[in-house]
């Protein structure tokens, strides 16, 4: 039997609860008023799907830091980490936000396009407003130094090559490249991030890894990994100039789509003048001498493409992937 007091306590608790849910909602309804004239008049949210400390986070925070210079007094760029679901949570938030120019994102491209090839998503990457490409980062296929394989040919002739990966949708490019090159890969998924997958290869749990050049550069400098093929770049990478591109190896068509793009984007239907304002301000930020100095020193390279060029570059990439839908179907669920 419940005592009267206990029931009363529970009732008080429920009242408190309801109050807690209602009051913040009430307050929030007053805060989102945007006036068209003086944009931007409040902070701009930059929502990213990467965790604090990662590549997405570093680029986003650096841009936020230097972009402040070109924004009106009192307007900041607030970086919000919303990791999870392979960047889907972050892009869903940006995609469905009010197109007022106060919410922008840094979607993972082309990784976020794959899920929508197979299933309807709460976003459509072909419809977002592209603001800028910060960097087109090619992928590199690399062999672990203590693997029994030493060259690309070894990999192609092997019965089975162990490849540690993070997940099948984030490493779609590598899967396609392996299929194209005829490498019989045995993928070991479930690593938390690219660095853990590389570590798995370094300690002998994998023969080869394929990630962006940006994330593998350190390991090439230290001679911890041996690069064997560059994917998604028209020309060779100067730091590892001895390594041929996929196009040189005779796979030009696929080479075109395999690069990864570090981009900034807003929701669809962003008003033209705000799109222009954001594109211009971000462009100024990326060419700011202090930002350029940072990028050089921190070895976080920038090769910018403006918003229109980004849209032009990404459309054929997304289209190109649909050609390989059947191969991808085996892996991406």
């Amino acid at each position: 039997m419940k005592s009267g007091k206990e029931v009363k306590m529970k009732r008080t608790l429920i009242v408190c609860l309801v109050g807690l849910l209602v009051i913040p909602g009430f307050l929030l309804s007053f805060t989102s008023e945007a006036s068209a004239e003086d944009y931007p008049s409040k902070d701009i949210r930059l929502i990213i799907g990467g965790k604090p400390g990662g590549g997405f986070d570093t680029y986003a925070r650096a841009i936020g830091r230097y972009m402040k210079k070109y924004l009106p007094e009192g307007v900041n760029v607030i970086v919000e980490n919303r990791p999870g679901a392979g960047h889907k949570i972050a892009i869903t938030m940006v995609y469905n936000s009010e197109p007022d120019g106060y919410t922008i994102g840094m979607p993972m491209m082309p990784g976020l396009y794959f899920p929508q090839m197979f299933e309807e998503q709460k976003y459509d990457m072909t419809k977002v407003t592209w603001l800028v490409t910060i960097l087109k980062d090619p992928r590199v296929l690399a062999i672990a130094p203590n693997s029994k394989f030493k060259t690309l040919k070894d990999l192609q002739q092997a019965e089975s090559v162990r490849v540690p990966i993070v997940g099948f949708s984030s490493e779609t490019g590598v899967i396609l490249a392996n299929e194209e090159l005829g490498i019989k890969a045995n993928y070991i998924s479930g690593h938390k991030n690219s660095k853990e997958a590389v570590l798995a290869a370094l300690r002998g749990d994998g023969d080869a890894v394929g990630f962006t050049f940006g994330s593998l550069r350190k390991f090439f400098v230290q001679k911890q990994l041996i690069p064997v093929a560059v994917m998604g770049s028209e020309k060779r990478i100067s730091a590892i100039s001895e390594v041929p591109t996929l196009a040189e190896l005779g796979h030009a068509e696929m080479n075109e789509i395999l690069g990864t793009y570090r981009v900034l984007a807003g929701p669809p239907n962003l008003p033209a003048e705000r799109t222009k304002y954001l594109r211009d301000t971000i462009w100024k930020t990326l060419s700011d001498p202090e930002f350029v100095a940072w990028s050089k020193q921190a070895k976080r390279p920038v090769e910018a493409l403006d918003g229109e060029a980004t849209a032009k570059a990404l459309a054929p990439v997304m289209k190109g992937y649909t050609k390989y839908k059947d191969i991808l179907k085996k892996y991406v669920k």
Binding site: L20, G53, G54, A62, I89, S189, Q222
Partner: protein, 503 residues
């Protein structure tokens, strides 16, 4: 230069940056901010750093490291405070501290527990950092011997603590733990990215977030209990009135210095292995303490050694986590990832050549983390008696505030209302579990470690050796035997005790 070689000149030069008015002030500020972030449920050392990073833009990288290192190092101690006082770990790694810390508070011994936690954290933090720095090359080799089977065995070790928790019956403990593991399966399949058990609810894509669940199970459950019982947390009638001050905790820790040393060792090694994560460190070392200490029947009911073991390991693991960060450029914990990110923002390349180009930054990280432990201990010890008063407040006043703090905390985590709902639902679950004698910690263990255990188990099956991989690798086999031993040992002990009693 070989990695890990000590350069005394650079070290002294770096130390001098800290040892002046400005340096000390920054250290103090960092430590206080870190402690506050650690102590507030929902905020953590990582959040403290993320908030502080923009403030470091005006500083040089070495000074920035001083501020960030202090804030991060101090947060792990801060996290023990709510674990002891209100049954809610400030961060998941402090979860094992709840096991004995809160029962101590209930007996009016929170002063002792806080004192012990402060001392054990400081010692553990010191040992972890020094051991790591002295043995970087050696540890790096050792860590490379850990692969998927070993990762699985480590998490399995953590899970096996369910068998010795001692709250409720063993069967109920296993049921709760199993339920926790089931809950950990919700969301994306970590291997194939298929959705599991999400029932079309978008929030569940990423699974059930551990921290809000933890708040619900432990804190909200406690709030409801406080309101129903109408007694403050500390039951002064049954608890001892003397010898409960903070110094009794310090003395207790120093008396158990060998235990501190062992648990710090466990914490350092677990922290150094990337992929396992520090959460198991506290639990494994707690289990180790329970099984190796004499007169262990009070573990789980308020034995100070439980607090010491968990906190020493918990702070030592951060020292260990520096190892993969420094030796391979791979962050060993979420906090280390933010460190590296912050360094990059300051224009420092975080590859291995950081040892050559920016040795002062590495040393500053070491110095600030050592320094903040001293400051945190002083602050912690001088405030512990005051903080202990929290447990004596009447529930009608205390419970609503605690309730609010937990809900705000779980919202603050990711600005997600879904997290708040999880907290509330798990609050109800926690209350009922407590009433029917199911261990809530067992459920949390399952939820925390289930995912990691699943990934490493399936990764092992993906290797050539398949299932055999668990038994043909020496470290994995040894860990497996240790787990068997630690699960069986309590039964043998109790059987023998019964035999003796019968005679």
């Amino acid at each position: 230069m070989e990695i890990g070689m000590f350069d005394a000149d650079v070290f002294w030069a770096t130390l001098k940056i800290m040892l002046n008015a400005r340096g000390i002030l920054i250290l103090l500020a960092g430590t206080v901010i870190g402690m506050i972030f650690g102590a507030i449920p929902g905020l953590s050392g990582v959040t403290a750093m993320v908030v502080l990073i923009p403030m470091t833009f005006g500083m040089d990288p070495v000074t920035a490291m001083l501020l960030l290192g202090a804030a991060y190092g101090a947060a792990t101690y801060g996290g023990a405070v709510p674990a002891i006082l209100i049954n809610t770990p400030g961060e998941p790694p402090n979860a094992a501290t709840v096991l004995d810390g809160f029962p101590m508070s209930q007996r009016g011994k929170s002063g002792t527990a806080l004192g012990a936690a402060a001392t054990a954290s400081t010692l553990g933090g010191f040992i972890g950092l020094i051991v790591t720095f002295c043995f970087i090359p050696l540890l790096a080799k050792f860590v490379m011997a850990f692969s998927y089977p070993e990762f699985f065995m480590m998490t399995f070790f953590g899970l096996s603590i369910i068998a010795v928790l001692g709250e409720g019956t063993l069967l109920k403990g296993l049921a709760a733990g199993g339920f926790g593991i089931l809950l950990s399966c919700v969301g994306y399949d970590p291997m194939t990215s298929e959705l599991r058990y999400t029932f079309g609810i978008e929030y569940l894509w990423d699974g059930i977030e551990v921290v809000p669940a933890l708040f619900g199970l432990l804190a909200i459950g406690e709030v409801m209990d406080l309101l129903v019982k109408k007694k403050p947390i500390a039951d002064l009638k049954t608890g001892p009135q003397k010898g409960v001050g903070v110094w009794s905790g310090v003395i207790a820790t120093l008396k158990n210095s060998f235990l501190v040393l062992r648990c710090s060792g466990i914490g350092t090694i677990i922290g150094a292995i990337p992929g396992v994560g520090g959460t198991v460190a506290g639990f494994i070392s707690y289990m180790h303490a329970k099984q190796t200490c004499r007169n262990n029947e009070n573990f789980g009911k308020g034995d100070v050694r439980g607090v010491i073991a968990s906190e020493a390991a918990n702070d030592a693991k951060e020292g260990g986590a520096l190892l993969p960060t420094l030796a391979f450029g791979i962050p060993g914990s979420a906090g280390m990832a933010v460190f590296l990110g912050a360094l990059t923002l300051h224009g420092i390349d975080t590859g291995q050549d950081i040892f050559i180009a920016n040795l002062d930054v590495v040393y500053m990280l070491l110095i600030s983390m050592l320094g903040c432990h001293i400051v945190a201990a002083i602050i912690g010890l001088s405030l512990a008696d005051k903080m202990a008063l929290l447990t004596k407040i009447r529930p009608v006043l205390f419970a609503p505030i605690l309730f609010l703090v937990c809900l705000i905390g779980s919202f603050a985590l990711r600005n997600s209302v879904g997290d708040v709902i999880v907290t509330l639902l798990f609050g109800l679950l926690g209350y009922e579990m407590r009433k029917f004698g199911f261990s809530r910690i067992a459920l949390i263990l399952g939820l925390l470690l289930g995912n990691m255990a699943e990934i490493s188990f399936r990764q092992t099956l993906m290797t050539e050796a398949k299932l055999l991989g668990f038994f043909i690798r020496p470290i994995s086999l040894i860990l497996f035997l240790l787990i068997l031993l630690s699960v069986i040992l309590p039964f043998i002990q109790s059987y023998r005790r019964r035999r003796i009693n019968e005679k």
